[in-house]
């Protein structure tokens, strides 16, 4: 579904991503991206989602080169993302914002998302006034509207407890399987990634270190040395 071909992203003179090539996709596949701070995880998501233009390389989505396409263009063709820092509309009620986005994307099955993410009790609340954990779920709900084919999630567990993170991951796991979509999750919580993801990619210093299933990654000597250490 998504082919990343020798992708480079520079911040001034600093190379945040260095010739990263990766294939992502498959119905119901949850792809985790882990790595130490500064590894280039969020930069990879920014480049794929169109938030940041790559310095070099290409991104192909469903066979089409989308490297120069706008964020809105990608969204209308089934690529959605959530953010590390919750990105919602604080003064709109949960209902108003979900309905506004559903109208734009022509999604008439909003109720399924509301139920799947347990948001029914919060619909009439301004989103800025609800608990942070619920705001994260609103953020994910906004990304799920329009039945995207590829869901990109940047640290969905940021600011949540380990238990809340696992709960959110399980929600996502179920949605990905049920809707037969692909999802990429960039996450610090290695345990959550290993327990829920089908494929894991490890980045380090802007380069791809390894890609494989969780068992292969846990056993990879380079990954253990560079990142997991005793955690494996």
């Amino acid at each position: 579904m998504l082919e990343i071909d020798r992708l480079c992203v520079n911040y001034g003179r600093v190379r945040a991503l260095d010739e990263v090539s990766l294939e992502i996709g498959g119905e119901g596949v949850l792809h985790g991206v882990i790595g130490p701070n500064g590894a280039g995880k969020s930069t990879l998501l920014d480049a794929v989602s169109g938030r940041r233009r790559p310095t070099q390389g290409a991104i192909r989505y469903c066979g089409q080169d989308i490297t120069g396409k706008s964020v809105a263009w990608r969204r209308h063709r089934g690529m959605a993302r959530s953010f590390q820092r919750t990105s919602i509309f604080p003064d709109l009620t949960v209902d108003e914002q979900l309905r506004l986005v559903a109208w734009r994307l022509g999604d008439d099955r909003l109720d399924e998302i509301i139920q799947a993410l347990d948001l029914t009790d919060y619909l009439r609340e301004p989103a800025g006034r609800i608990a942070y954990g619920v705001q994260r779920r609103v953020d994910v709900a906004l990304a799920l509207i329009g039945r995207p084919q590829l869901l990109l999630m940047d640290e969905p567990g940021a600011g949540l407890s380990a238990e809340e993170t696992l709960h959110l991951f399980q929600h996502v796991r179920a949605l990905v399987a049920e809707r037969r979509i692909a999802a990429v999750i960039v996450e610090h919580d290695v345990d959550a990634v290993f327990s829920c993801c089908d494929v894991v990619t490890v980045l380090d210093l802007g380069r791809r270190l390894a890609t494989g299933n969780p068992a292969e990654i846990r056993a990879d000597a380079r990954v253990v040395e560079a990142y997991l250490g005793s955690a494996a």
């Binding site: 989602s49 938030r51 706008s70 964020v71 809105a72 969204r75 209308h76 959605a80 993302r81 953010f83 990105s87 919602i88 509309f89 604080p90 003064d91 709109l92 949960v94 108003e96 914002q97 506004l100 986005v101 109208w103 734009r104 994307l105 029914t120 009790d121 919060y122 619909l123 009439r124 609340e125 609800i130 906004l142 990304a143 509207i145 329009g146």
Partner: protein, 341 residues
């Protein structure tokens, strides 16, 4: 427990409240259009007319502030520009009064669309400075020697049109008693239009873009076109107010283009409150009468300064916003479920 279905109390309130509110608004419109003609002096009506037109200008400024988080400082350039274009249409282009009105309106809408296309992408501070710059350029261009044949420089232009517009002669527009119902009706139409847009999908999109533009783009929205539409809309309202002003005054001068008038519109919006359509109009009326009261002592600028401080620091919701909040607060204790939200 939060959210959930609307309480029976809230449902009953809205079912009865909406027709009652519509009835009250209709009564207010009719009484407001007629009563001052009999109850107020010509002088008071003259100030009232100025207040309504200032209120329309404030309405346009407040809409963009509230919906898009943008402060336009060049509102007067469109307001005064409408007057100049109308006068030039009649004096230099030999247009009839109706043709001159339409020509002025269309030119200003096209101008607003072109200016908006250039500046609407910028951040709020840059937007404010660019609207100020555009307004000042227009304000000073009417003083250019090369344009004196059209604008008469600092002397301003007398506008004497022949024939009628909507059945009204020039003398009717100049008569404050005849002009009041027209200005009152135009103000209501502008207010209701702005209110409808606020409650429309365009209004919701503008508010959402103001709150989180990036999320809007990641939700598949074009964030440029809605803001441009909002900018053109407010300039259309300002142009209508400016056309009414020149019809009423029969004269247009560089004063009607300047920063001072733009500031007065902004202050009027703050006084009335930017969160409703009624607020800026009430603010315009308060400002016009206060200016008349205190202007005689030469303290208008002082009054403006004090009003800015008071209404930004102490009463940030403005008069109408504050009264609405107080009314809600008073109603709440009698409603065991917390009232309709």
């Amino acid at each position: 427990m939060s959210g959930g279905a609307a309480s029976p109390v809230a449902v009953r309130y809205s079912a009865v409240g909406a027709p009652l509110a519509a009835l009250a608004a209709t009564a207010l419109f009719v009484v407001g259009a007629v009563a001052p003609i009999y109850a107020a002096s010509e002088f008071t009506l003259r100030i009232g007319n100025q207040g309504l037109l200032l209120g329309m200008l404030a309405l346009s400024v407040a809409f963009l502030m509230n919906q898009a988080g943008l402060v336009a400082l060049g509102a007067a350039s469109v307001y005064g520009g409408a007057g100049y274009l109308f006068a030039i249409g009649i004096n230099n282009w030999d247009l009839s009064a109706t043709q001159a009105l339409l020509a002025a309106f269309v030119i200003l809408v096209v101008y607003a669309a072109a200016l908006g296309a250039l500046i609407i992408r910028t951040n709020p501070l840059a937007f404010m400075m660019l609207t100020l710059a555009a307004g000042e350029m227009i304000s000073h261009s009417v003083m250019l020697e090369g344009l004196r044949d059209y604008t008469s420089g600092a002397d301003g232009l007398v506008v004497a049109f022949k024939g009628s517009i909507l059945g009204l002669q020039a003398a009717d527009f100049a008569n404050p008693v005849h002009f009041w119902p027209l200005a009152w009706t135009a103000t209501w139409i502008s207010g209701l239009t702005i209110r409808a847009v606020r409650r429309s999908r365009l209004g919701a999109v503008l508010r959402a873009v103001r709150q989180n533009e990036e999320r809007m783009r990641f939700s598949g929205f074009d964030t440029y076109a809605p803001r441009l539409m909002g900018f053109v809309l407010i300039n259309a309202v300002a142009a209508v107010a400016g056309l009414l002003h020149v019809l009423n005054a029969g004269f247009v001068s560089p004063d009607s283009l300047g920063l001072s008038l733009s500031t007065n519109a902004l202050v009027s919006a703050l006084i009335g409150g930017v969160a409703s359509a009624a607020g800026p109009i009430v603010g315009g009326l308060i400002f016009a009468f206060a200016q008349d009261e205190f202007g005689a002592y030469g303290v208008t600028q002082l009054l403006t300064g004090v009003a800015i401080v008071v209404f930004i620091v102490l009463f940030s919701k403005g008069v109408v916003g504050g009264l609405t909040s107080a009314a809600r607060h008073l109603r709440r204790p009698s409603d065991p479920k917390g009232g309709a939200r």
